[in-house]
Amino acid sequence: MKIIASYNIKGGVGKTATIVNLAYLAAADGHKVLLCDLDPQGSATFYFRIRTHKKQTGQKLLRGRKKLDKFVMESDFENLEILPANLSYRSLDILLNKETKSKHILKNIFKSYQKTYDLILLDCPPNITLLSENIFYAADLILVPIIPSTLSIRTYDQLLDFFKQEKIKRSKLIPFLSMVEKRKKLHTEITEDLLNHDKHFLRSMIPYSANIEKMGINRKPIAAEIRSTAAKQAYLDLWQEVTELLQ
């Protein structure tokens, strides 16, 4: 079992759009997948049309598998199950703080799923918090969508610094370009520069696309649409590259 997170300190960069599509593609490839929504906004949960249970709380999440199993929901797609999130998750940091070994709680919880799933995918809220630190230790790969803009790159540098400071394995961080607009001169310039000079960046990138935006209305991963679009192809390429990294 491998754990993949979609994370960035910055909000609104395409974390959720990415992980939702990868979850679908991984399941379609035959992997048994659990998509674990850790963001109190519950956007990933929403994309899969799942209503959360009022009884599901942050406390229960931290108690581990025994308390969680009954909240796991089957998606409309084969092999893909969802552990939804709800607003109560906003207090996760306070709860984590009370625990001993507070940075490794999530890692330990996921261990009990070793035999049940091939992949656990995490949709993460932005900012650096105790929850995100937990994610850094739990995940095998951390996908970092980055919009080709100066501010966005700055937050990526901040993240790198944090990893260095905390001595977390740098190799877990997998940056890739997100919401790339070919028509914007600045985007193309930064994109070229990054791909040429930073070997850590994945070769595939997600273009800015109205179809991806519409996912909020259709409530279905764009990759699950029958018609092929540039956006769908971009997620397919991304998944292909991630699969190679998993091996």
Binding site: F48, R49, R51, F71, V72, M73, E74, D76, R219
Partner: protein, 502 residues
């Protein structure tokens, strides 16, 4: 289904996901070899599946060609082919039933338009000229994890509001359809079970047995004409031979004029089918033969088999004409009716007609058996091949007798005894086949014009074959002596004496 969906839509929305229609064939041989061994072979859209009687999938394979598979060699290498080979060869697969499956998948959605339950409506029909009610009509309701409450609600709607009943044990639909389609599955077997009554007279028994052999004869005609596989002719010929044997083994049942007339007809049926059967046997052994000679001689053999193949086509045509001729039709129908007639005129009866069959059979079996033991015990390594051939004929007669009359004697011992006999007989059969084959290869060589290089190659190949066969044949002599010793040991002789008392 409509009304169910209306009922459900009072609470939920639903969506039709797919509607499919598929046709499957159930394949088996004319004599139900797969069914008899507990297998079902289903084929649709280039996919074949071997199932057991509970409907569990054992093996599957994809057929490269569009046409449905007819023979084992139509299947790709693999487990399915391996399983079929031992059971089916050399029979052809026939369509024993056609099944249509209509399947619709629906999803039931909640207010978020999220699927909460999947419904699959599956109807299975037997393909037939007049419409039949479905063999099976079921609604499969699959819950989604986390939506157990919705599942309970929907199954309640289905059972309480719509009056559906929950399925219990699921029947194996394939088996069911076979049995519906062919009201008598296993309606053919090359050796019909003969159940003789102890109180039968010789005439009753002879009529019963010949009635059955003639039925076998007529049932195989169409398969020979359509040239479906080589076993139709084989079974046809065995039935003819068995009929002839019966007449000579149980003398004096019918009046001589009847016996003679019947023998003449059977003889004709036997001799007109002989050539085709010989060709069939050779062609069936093609691969085996090719392994017997060194690679250099194989092209010569190919040429030989080409010739045989051409001759076979002619023979098959000739035989078809004969089987469709008025003359033949009259003969076979006449005797079938004759054997079925409840009463025969006194003038048709022979001297032994009214003697008890058990008595007649015991006497005849004993006589054969004693003769075989006595002759066999005088055999040694100087015994001529021709004497061994004679022995084979004796064994065959005994075997036929035992098979005809086994129902009159104690069953278990009888089967044990037949088993022992089969071992020796197989050996003798192989010995004889090798002689016949060598002889016929010799004839083929002699009949060939010898002025072309191509023919010389064929002659060389056949020569190689003959040498190999003659060696094999000598080995079989030793095997026969050993097998015979076991067959004739005191224990078996005692068993025989208790079995056949008269």
């Amino acid at each position: 289904m409509e009304s169910l969906l209306i009922e459900i839509s009072k609470h939920y929305t639903h969506q039709t996901i797919s509607a499919e229609h598929s046709l499957s064939l159930l394949l088996d041989s004319f004599d139900w070899r797969l069914y008899n061994k507990g297998y079902l072979l289903r084929h649709s859209n280039q996919h074949s599946e071997l199932l057991n009687m509970d409907g569990h999938l054992l093996h599957k394979a994809t057929i490269p060609q569009k046409k449905r598979p007819r023979f084992i060699h139509d299947f790709p290498k693999g487990k399915l082919k391996d399983s079929l080979t031992s059971i089916l060869a050399p029979r052809a697969l026939l369509e024993r039933a056609q099944i249509v499956v209509e399947s619709c998948v629906y999803t039931v959605l909640d207010q978020e338009k999220k699927t909460v339950v999947r419904l699959q409506h599956e109807q299975i029909f037997l393909q037939s000229k007049k419409p039949l009610p479905p063999l099976q009509d079921q609604l499969i309701c699959t819950p989604l994890r986390g939506y157990e409450k919705e599942f309970t609600t929907i199954t309640r709607i289905l059972t309480e509001d719509c009056g559906l009943t929950a399925a219990t044990k699921s029947e194996n639909i394939m088996k069911l359809s076979l049995e519906k389609m062919n009201r008598r599955v296993k309606d053919y077997s090359s050796k019909a079970d003969l159940n003789l009554d102890e109180n039968f007279s010789g005439l009753d028994a002879a009529k019963y047995i010949l009635g059955s052999t003639f039925e076998t004869i007529t049932r195989n005609e169409q398969g020979i004409i359509d040239d479906l596989d080589i076993e139709f002719l084989h079974d046809f010929r065995v039935a003819v031979r068995r009929s002839r044997s019966l007449l000579s083994l149980l003398k004096g049942i019918f009046h001589d004029t009847i016996t003679d007339e019947l023998k003449t007809d059977l003889k004709k049926m036997g001799s007109l089918t002989g050539a085709l059967r010989d060709h069939d046997v050779y062609l069936d052994k093609k691969d085996e033969y090719k392994k017997m000679v060194p690679a250099a001689l194989r092209p010569g053999l190919d040429k030989y088999f080409e010739d045989i193949h051409k001759q076979r086509i002619d023979e098959q045509k000739k035989l078809t004409q004969f089987l469709q001729s008025k003359e033949y039709q009259q003969i076979s129908r006449k005797w079938q009716q004759y054997m079925r007639a409840p009463q025969l005129a006194d003038m048709d009866k022979g001297n032994n007609a009214d003697i008890s069959i058990k008595k007649l059979a015991s006497k005849s079996i004993s006589k054969r058996y004693k003769k075989i033991i006595a002759t066999g015990q005088m055999f040694d390594h100087q015994t001529e091949d021709s004497e061994i051939h004679q022995m084979r004929i004796e064994f065959k007669k005994l075997r036929y007798l035992l098979e005809f009359f086994k129902s009159l004697f104690s069953k278990n011992e009888m089967n044990h005894f037949i088993q022992q006999l089969k071992t020796v007989q197989n050996c003798l059969g192989n010995f004889n086949d090798l002689s016949v084959q060598q002889e016929s290869l010799m004839q083929h060589i002699q009949a060939m014009p010898c002025n072309r290089k191509e023919h010389l190659m064929v002659a060389a190949s056949l020569g190689g074959l003959i040498a190999h066969m003659s060696e094999e044949q000598q080995k079989l002599r030793t095997v026969f002596f050993e097998d015979f010793e076991i067959f004739a040991n005191q224990e078996n002789q005692n068993l025989f004496d208790t079995l056949i008392q008269f």
